[in-house]
Symmetry: D2
Subunit: 341 residues, 4 copies
């Protein structure tokens, strides 16, 4: 590894988020080289070639893995494929970055963990990107430095602007529902900020405010949840698909000496408007405008971890725990019962 | 009633909050006359005489009720006395304003409701004062006017600055615990803002962050709760005794077209400070600085309702419901189970 | 004075602001009794009688002064009458509260100062009400306590919501122009916050953004100004008649160790709205909503000062200085030159 | 130019800001190649070689210009050298990016403008970087789109955190003073936001709040200024070297239908802290944290303009005007007079 200066990466999946990762890898991650792209969609490959200058294009994931020049793969594929694609990549000797969640199936999560443990030289990281946002990182550092005493409660929410096209309704059968699709981020943040506590029991509920199409999948467009941890810590979550003002991810960390809040006002930038509507600011429309810098730092962190042979900040166990807790939330939502973990 | 111009009031209870009510009634409520004060504490009666000029002083509540000049009583007494004192006042033909909560006992709440129904000429109002805060009132009016579409979620919190003297620990045996003492306010706000929905089930939990003395009473100093209502509405609550920055009561109302937030930053006034600590504002130290105007408007509303023979905004049933839901929260906290209502 | 418990007041002038003062004196100032009202407008007197219960009504100011029961007069009359009416009131042995400014004529200001000095028992106060706003008072106390070190710069602005009816254009011939009508408040604040410094020179300019009708009076609807004081202090002012969002009075005080800002966001209350316009708050529409509490405290302060025979916080010299500096600003605006004081 | 894909750049000057530019050119500007570095300081060249991998190092600026491979130079040198170095670069056939201000001497500014006009193929841009900040750009776009009607007033301030080391005092003899060093940025913003208006007259003043060492240079550490433009527009400026809370660049643009504010709260990130100091946020310590993204976009804009043969957004005339107005401010400060332009 010491003789190469750039990590040669092949990306699989060039949907909305995949294209963002590809652009970062091609242009903005200092030590990365986007060598190859893989997608079943012809137009997406054409985009990678023309817009990013990616020379090597594959329609089949196995061909990507067979490319000996590729050091690492970036998986931005449907969640249902994650576990198996990671397994195959590890077996092909590739480092893996994979978008969240690791899997909707706990057994699959553990299978991946075990195989990764058997390949200690290879790095695997799941993309819980909020940890790389500068503001979340600053809050984490302040908590670790003791600024708010002992943290005992995290409240975190992931609120998306309403998409009248109902994209996520069609996506519902495979997304795992609102807690596995959205709240996993907040679960991961809560575990990180509270110091990896052990979950004990959860309760969740939710309503359908706008998207009746979700009902047949047992899903909701607004869900709330509580998670108790061992040792006197707890977390409250809220996820929504129906906001009018934009995307808002915000998190409060309460400690014995103070509180930190991240992202209370989802302002788009530093502009305030005073007009007939009052004093106001525009908001980030989607998670991407909010976390653009986090995605870049996340990819840079992974590339550096591989090249410098350091353990990534996020472990596979973190990803498994996020899935485990989110599954319990879904079960609680659907059974109206407290779920013990 | 038409022949009197001012409502003649006797106040019972001159503790911290009682004195505030007494001052308002004596000086600031336009159509009120503070005729008499009742307290078992000699020094409190002396204060009422000297500072407020209250001429008639009683050590015994029954003597206050026997005073034929008194039109109405203000009860700012321990919660355990509320129900019986209201009953006696009604039987004596007095109108009643009583601080929240109505009672910690649901049967008592219902007994008071029934007796009040048998005295339709007499007004009885329980002091859920947040409803009279101008900001909460503005939010309520906006919701009712349809500004945010159909409201489906209220998140409300009542966060108190840590009191190192531990006053509320000694008070724990009679306060009913954090949900009956603090969260009743948020329960009442949620019911009001959501349009009096029917509660279906609740879940609550909590931790002791600082005050170990609460443990023997089954109480906590930080508690969170979820309440499901019928017809697709829900509420999340948080109460704390351990804040470092001041008293903060804040509430979000989420609707299908927007969100309203009340009290996000508990700023003391309109001053911002820019210095070595950053850009900052000071906070309201206690609920009283935050709700000073609300207490005045609440008392004025009650006095006007009596004098003009109109139904007060708050019914006894509202107060019973707040107690009923808070009791369910306490049971959930103590049993770690979902409680069906 | 010791034998009376309430100050008996006669108010002259029942226009928009006069009615507000009258309501405060009749209902909210503890030790005041609104005994009489004086106005040349029949309908205004009828309002005082019916709505406030004022028993004694005068059409002529001299009759008000001749009423021996009246201890003090409140003058909310046109500025051009202030000086002469104060003189007559003092000669009639009445205490005087008079709205700002004292006069547009410096000689008149000094004549009043001299006459008042000859009647040391009578209190005279000019209504620079911002000093009684709780936030401005808090900032003042912090400055005096040394929180920001030595203050060296005040920036203060008085921004009014555009009034499409152009009321103030018709008012322009007698208002003295934007600096004498609006900026006098900011001048008074700057002097107060900086510790009564001696003005040395000023420069002012302005534009007509919307109201061309002002041009014939040499006035502007947006004016800016700078005032240098002796001993290394200075102030910048801005006044506008054309805001879209509401009334905004805001002031920054810069010191060697920090800055205080009062009123940066002219929020109406504690409600924030998140909807298709972004995250926003409504604003105070006029100065009255912003300074309602200040008007009450100002009147209470004056009444208490008279009854307790204490010097009011604001001296006549303060009022003279505000006029003197504002006149220099107007001269600078009209001559485009620096004016030495 | 069409045959090269990256612009080959030599940078002159590797002081504090020079190193930031060098890092951007070496790593983050997509189509740039940092080919050479030039500095009289041995250690700075060693840094460029080791940290950035710059292969070609020069101690003498003439040697840099003689390097035929260099397409463009970045000048981050003392202001007194700017004009002559630009002239020499143009004569050597190089494109030029130069840090602001163009020169402290108006004749030099015009000499550079004339020579550049004689080399129309070569791009020259002066680094008024605030124009490339996303928030300032958003405000500019909103103004141009008519959101606030006709803009008539810009208020802009450049407030630096106090540097107890007094670096800028030693720098005073060559910086040109506070208006030429700091306020030039605000002048450029005002001209840009108001649509390149013609300046008519200015007035400026200032105080020394902390740094007495400035007195011998006729400079101040806090200066305020007003600039009138033709056609009913104006600007107010404030520059400070003595803030306690951090670097704050903020600008208001007032129009006939609304106001835009950029940078009102100089928050470091999206974290809010609630603790014993109140509710607060940390601030950007220096201009670099505030404008990091602007510096990157500025360099990218220049590189793209050269490679695509498009005129840069900022003209040399813009830079001349900024110097011209700033010189008038300095003259006003020193003479206490209005300066006509």
């Amino acid at each position: 590894m010491t003789t190469i200066s750039r990590l040669r990466i092949g990306i699989a999946g060039l949907g909305r988020l995949g294209r963002r990762h590809a652009e970062n890898l091609a242009r903005r991650v200092p030590r990365a080289e986007l060598l190859a792209a893989c997608s079943p969609v012809e137009a997406e490959l054409a985009w990678a070639k023309q817009d990013l200058g990616v020379a090597t294009l594959y329609g089949d994931y196995h061909d990507l893995l067979a490319d000996a020049r590729v050091d690492a793969v970036f998986l931005v594929t449907p969640t249902s494929l994650h576990a198996e694609q990671i397994v195959q990549a590890l077996q092909a000797g590739k480092h893996v970055f994979c978008e969240k969640p690791l899997s909707l199936d706990l057994a699959d999560c553990r299978r991946v963990e075990e195989l990764a443990a058997a390949h200690p030289r290879l790095k695997v990281m799941i993309g819980y990107g909020r940890r790389f946002d500068p503001s979340y990182r600053d809050a984490y550092d302040k908590v670790r430095a003791g600024m708010i005493g002992k943290p005992f409660l995290v409240r975190s929410q992931n609120l998306d602007m309403n998409d009248p096209s109902g994209f996520f309704v069609r996506f519902a059968p495979t997304s795992g529902g609102i807690f596995l699709d959205c709240t996993v981020h907040d679960i991961d943040l809560a575990r990180w900020l509270l110091g990896d506590p052990e979950p004990v029991r959860v309760f969740a509920t939710g309503v359908i405010a706008l998207h009746e199409g979700l009902r047949e999948f047992g899903d909701v467009d607004n869900g709330v949840a509580t998670c108790e941890f061992a040792d006197g810590q707890m977390a409250c979550f809220y996820a929504s698909r129906t906001m009018a003002h934009g995307h808002e991810t915000s998190t409060e960390i309460f400690g014995t000496h103070g509180r930190l809040t991240v992202g209370q006002n989802p302002r788009l930038n530093r502009v305030d408007i005073a007009d007939a509507h009052g004093v106001r600011n525009e908001c980030t429309p989607t998670f991407y405008e909010r976390f653009e810098e986090a995605f870049l730092r996340e990819a840079t962190h992974f590339v550096d971890a591989v090249l410098d042979d350091r353990a990534p900040l996020l472990t596979l166990h973190d990803a498994t725990e996020a899935t485990r807790i989110a599954l319990a939330l879904r079960e609680s939502l659907q059974t109206r019962r407290v779920i013990e973990l």
